[in-house]
């Protein structure tokens, strides 16, 4: 994805026969969906971190989103990845025949699209360092196994993690423009709906595996298609959405009010608010848009959070957002 908002190139992994729950069938988890969509509309957000409880559908949401938007699974960096697959190396089979044929790594594969890291907090420190180098400079430098090259790369980094298993280094947290603190849905109606959805999806998958078609899946894919068109339209209109000076000032005041670490907090709020306005089909960013995205952009930048890896956001924080935006 480039700055001009051109359509993303097709990501390397081909559309597979692997059945992932269609995006529009995901019940609840509004914040996860919002963050992923905003990062698509405004690629400069850079990344989304989904941190939260077990079994809340974080990974499913990311894969479903990639399936919907790109028609394929996201380029995925698993925790078992070795360095040669991350930065690139040689094709081994060809090498054995004395033919040096370069093989692109995952960072290059993800260029212009989405790089997904499941269990990002379990990633080897060495691989984290490589990712940090690339995301901070936008350049992939390969100096290994006789290769010497530099390539510009840009991707949206999406990470999922369970904070019970440890946190992230502050430098890596900072690369995620938005962060969602995911909790399980406790509303009874939503829990019921989740159960129904999973059981119906199980049934649909067994139908498809038996060679039958599933109206349930087909209907959902149609809805996915419509939602995709909506997001693509929002992405195209992103730069036409106006950001009034007073709204920009409020973004700065919000970052100040929450003592956000680093210089990116206010910028991320503004970027995300503009993307949200584009998603809503508005021509101008308002304080309501800012209020909606403030938590996503600020909660992981508050002082003390980077050390403790706890991301509390209480009702008082929402109140503080409202107070700052209303100029009190």
């Amino acid at each position: 994805m480039d700055i001009e908002g051109n359509a993303p190139k097709t990501v390397v992994i081909e559309k597979s026969a692997i059945q992932i729950l269609p995006y529009t069938l995901i019940v609840g988890q509004h914040q996860i969906k919002l963050a992923l969509e905003l990062a698509y509309i405004a690629p400069r957000i850079g990344g989304v971190l989904l941190s939260g409880h077990r079994g809340t559908g974080k990974s499913t949401a990311v894969r479903a989103f990639a399936q919907m938007m790109y028609g394929c699974l996201p380029v995925t960096l698993p925790i078992n990845a070795t360095e040669d697959r991350v930065v690139g190396g040689w094709k081994i089979d060809e090498l054995m025949k004395s033919k040096p044929v370069p093989q692109a790594g995952l960072l290059e594969d993800a260029n212009g699209g989405l790089l997904y890291i499941d269990e990002v907090n379990l990633l080897d420190d060495h691989i984290v360092n490589i990712i940090l180098d690339v995301t901070s400079t936008g350049v992939l430098v390969v100096q290994r196994e006789g290769q010497s090259q530099q390539k510009p790369v840009s991707f949206t980094l999406v990470g999922t993690m369970n904070p019970e298993e440890g946190g992230l280094r502050p430098q890596l947290i900072d690369r995620f423009g938005l962060m969602v603190s995911v909790t399980a849905e406790t509303d009874e109606a939503k829990r019921t709906k989740i159960l129904q959805t999973v059981l119906e999806f199980d049934q649909a998958v067994s139908q498809i595996k038996a060679g039958e078609s599933s109206a349930y899946i087909n209907d959902a894919l149609e809805k996915d298609q419509k939602h995709r068109e909506l997001l693509e339209k929002a992405r195209q209109t992103f730069y036409q959405v106006e950001v009034p000076v007073n709204v920009a000032k409020n973004c700065v005041r919000l970052a100040g009010g929450f003592q956000a670490e680093g210089n990116r907090g206010d910028y991320m709020i503004a970027l995300a608010a503009r993307a949200y306005a584009a998603l809503k089909g508005e021509k101008q960013v308002t304080n309501e848009h800012v209020a909606t995205v403030a938590r996503l952009a600020l909660q992981h930048r508050r002082p003390g959070v980077l050390q403790s890896n706890q991301m509390p956001w209480r009702d008082q924080d929402n109140q503080l957002v409202q107070e700052i935006l209303s100029g009190d």
């Binding site: 499913t60 090498l95 995952l106 060495h126 298993e165 440890g166 399980a184 159960l195």
Partner: protein, 651 residues
């Protein structure tokens, strides 16, 4: 197997068999955790599950076992010598967990003890268990596929705190693997003694060792299970897609608490189990009673505040009838042939007895299949390290580096601990090109420094902090502040920790000290142990003896990696339990000074240990003020005085 004398008829009325059958027909349930089981029962379960899944899928199932040593290359695959004399001298060897890339390639992964699983395996399990898709990005290989794995793990329920809840949460089906002792043990032993060894070469025979074999009344011949009665229901169930009533869905929520530990996976697992059970029944609709029956299989009980309608629901007969252990629930609905149950008098009257008694197969597996609590991790004390699934930090000062278990390989930074095979394989990749570039007809393998790989090893502690805490002397002093520097030292040095509690309130036996070992100071059981309240007796001599034994073992035994130990003793020296009383577990008055003298005697032996630094934190008791100093003197300990608590004025 149709021979009733030698086969064991599996039946869906048995709850254990039924649970496994549900897992076989429902891929979402193919991750089973067996609590408190034995290796034999685990193997037996694996055998049954393998056969059932093979019936369902129509493909043979291969089983693999994960233990304590597997590294990432073993799990995910590696480059290996091809063994062919062809042009390509080595090729990609798939790992234990990279199977399942086509439907006919289904594997059953057996984990005998989840608490002892290697770190690499635990990390792999987290990424594969219940995952929609698996990714492999290693050594030039790039694959993604839908994992086609069945999981069967054993775990002691009282050790579940050692396992990451993040990993545990992925096990959908929780069962108990305990074997019920339903027969007279003496009769069993006599029966086994008379049993002549079978010349059988049946591959399953090793799985059917006692006690399971012994439970099978009248068994004399080839050990095997008969799946004949299961084949049809399993195959029929595949084509069934019952509808799910709204009441049934609502009922599932009654069994799940939405407290802090709430995981939506639990509700989903129960839903899948109820649906699978209904499919096995061949019904067109999944109803409330199917949910209740499924909950019984797992030992789930309705959450009290959500069970207003339990009485009416439980009044319905729960079908299918399932043998239940003695949980006290729904006994009227079970059809157990459990020999624990009193037999009706009419059955005891032999109407006809043949010359050679015919042994009929039981229709009950001798397992107490329902766990008391299928989610013991919610209540278990945390015994694992924080962030236990993260790769460990590397902090070695000396040769201890070469002692930790191998958890992988990495690019070498020094020439120590080289992984030779990995290094040579790395060099082999480039041989063609290197031979061309040298052009001098060199025939040997050209190894470049960039090929060098060394082993990545789990950390081992080079230091040990041993805390001997006499809880009965702590109430009047500020001991925490004085102890803190030693705890900090243990953290900084990544020292292992041994806490010896003397006179703790929660001691298993009040006449004995008890020991808690941990890999690091971050293990929560250590902080919980330090904070324990005080009891009545002070078995100081026993505590010091435990300390002595542990230090000797840590410093002198086998391939010990501990170079230095720091023993911190907080005690007023007033032991009131003689060593003999601790050993015997009973005290014979009068005690007199025996407890103190024994403590001093053992303490003197601690003085003789090399590489042990001893510190006594003196709580400065108001009475017998010299006792702690005497103890320190005998141990050769440095003494640090603990300031008393500031006195509070009471008006």
């Amino acid at each position: 197997m149709t021979d009733s004398a030698s086969s064991y008829q599996l039946t869906l009325t048995d709850s254990f068999t039924r649970s496994l059958a549900c897992a076989a027909i429902s891929p979402g349930l193919r991750s089973i955790l067996l609590f408190d089981t034995t290796p034999e029962v685990l193997r037996l379960t694996a055998d049954i599950l393998t056969q059932m899944v093979a019936i369902v899928t129509g493909h043979p199932v291969v089983s693999v076992t994960l233990g304590t040593w597997e590294a990432e290359d073993d799990l995910w695959g590696r480059l290996g010598l091809s063994g062919d004399s062809g042009e390509q001298s080595f090729d990609w060897k798939p790992g234990l967990l990279t199977a399942g890339q086509n439907p006919s390639d289904l594997r059953l992964v057996i984990i005998p003890d989840l608490t002892k699983l290697s770190l690499a395996s635990a990390r792999a399990c987290v990424t594969l268990l219940g995952a929609d898709v698996a990714h492999l990005e290693r050594h030039g290989q790039q694959e993604f596929w839908q994992p086609n794995l069945c999981w069967l793990a054993g775990c002691a329920s009282d050790q579940v705190g050692m396992v990451s809840p993040h990993l545990l949460d992925r096990f959908a089906l929780r069962l108990s693997g305990q074997v019920e002792k339903t027969r007279d043990r003496v009769a069993e032993i006599l029966e086994w003694i008379d049993l002549s060894p079978s010349p059988s070469t049946n591959k399953n025979s090793s799985l059917l060792l006692s006690p399971v074999r012994g439970e099978r009344e009248g068994w004399r011949g080839e050990p095997d299970f008969s799946f004949e009665t299961l084949r049809q229901p399993l195959q029929n169930a595949l084509h069934l897609r019952p509808t799910i009533t709204a009441e049934a869905t609502a009922r599932i929520l009654d069994y799940t608490s939405i407290l802090e530990m709430f995981s939506p996976r639990r509700e989903i697992a129960l839903g899948r189990l109820a649906l699978a059970s209904a499919r096995l029944e061949g019904v067109a609709e999944m109803r409330v009673k199917d949910v209740d029956a499924a909950a019984c299989l797992m030992g789930l009980k309705p959450i009290p505040q959500q069970t207003e309608d339990v009485s009416t629901e439980s009044a319905e007969p729960v079908t299918p009838p399932i043998d239940q252990p003695e949980t006290g629930e729904d006994k009227s609905t079970t059809t157990s042939l459990d020999s624990n149950l009193p037999e009706p008098a009419t059955v005891r009257e032999p109407v006809y007895e043949s010359d050679e008694p015919e042994f009929l197969p039981l229709t009950h597996l001798p397992f107490n299949t329902t766990p008391v609590n299928p989610y013991p991790e919610d209540e278990a004390p945390v015994e694992r390290e924080a962030a236990s699934l993260q790769l460990p930090s590397r902090r070695f000062r000396s040769r201890a580096k070469a002692y930790g278990a191998i958890i992988g390989v990495e690019k070498a930074k020094t020439l120590q601990d080289l992984a030779l095979v990995r290094t040579l394989l790395e060099a082999a990749k480039f041989q063609g090109i290197r031979q061309q570039s040298t052009g001098n007809g060199h025939q040997g393998l050209i190894v470049s420094p960039t090929d060098l790989h060394s082993y990545r090893r789990a950390p081992v502690a080079e230091q040990m902090l041993m805390l001997l805490l006499d809880h009965t002397c702590l109430r009047d002093c500020q001991w925490q502040d004085e102890l803190l520097p030693y705890l900090s030292w243990a953290y900084v040095e990544r020292a292992s920790v041994c806490l010896i509690q003397v006179g703790a309130e929660n001691a298993r036996h009040e006449l004995r000290a008890q020991k808690i070992m941990a890999q690091s100071i971050l293990v929560p059981s250590i902080s919980a142990g330090i904070e324990a309240g005080w009891g009545k007796a002070t078995p100081l001599a026993h505590g010091l003896e435990l300390a002595l034994q542990t230090l000797r073992h840590a410093l002198q035994h086998g391939r010990s990696t501990v170079h230095q130990a720091v023993l911190v003793v907080i005690s007023d020296g007033r032991g009131n339990v003689p060593l003999a009383a601790s050993r015997l577990g009973q005290i014979t008055p009068p005690v007199g000074r025996k407890g103190v003298e024994d403590a001093l005697q053992v303490a003197e032996r601690i003085r003789g240990l090399d590489n042990v630094k001893v510190v006594l934190l003196n709580p400065q008791p108001k009475q017998y003020q010299d006792l702690p100093l005497e103890l320190a003197n005998v141990m050769g300990a440095a003494v640090v005085s603990i300031p008393p608590l500031p006195e509070m004025e009471v008006e």
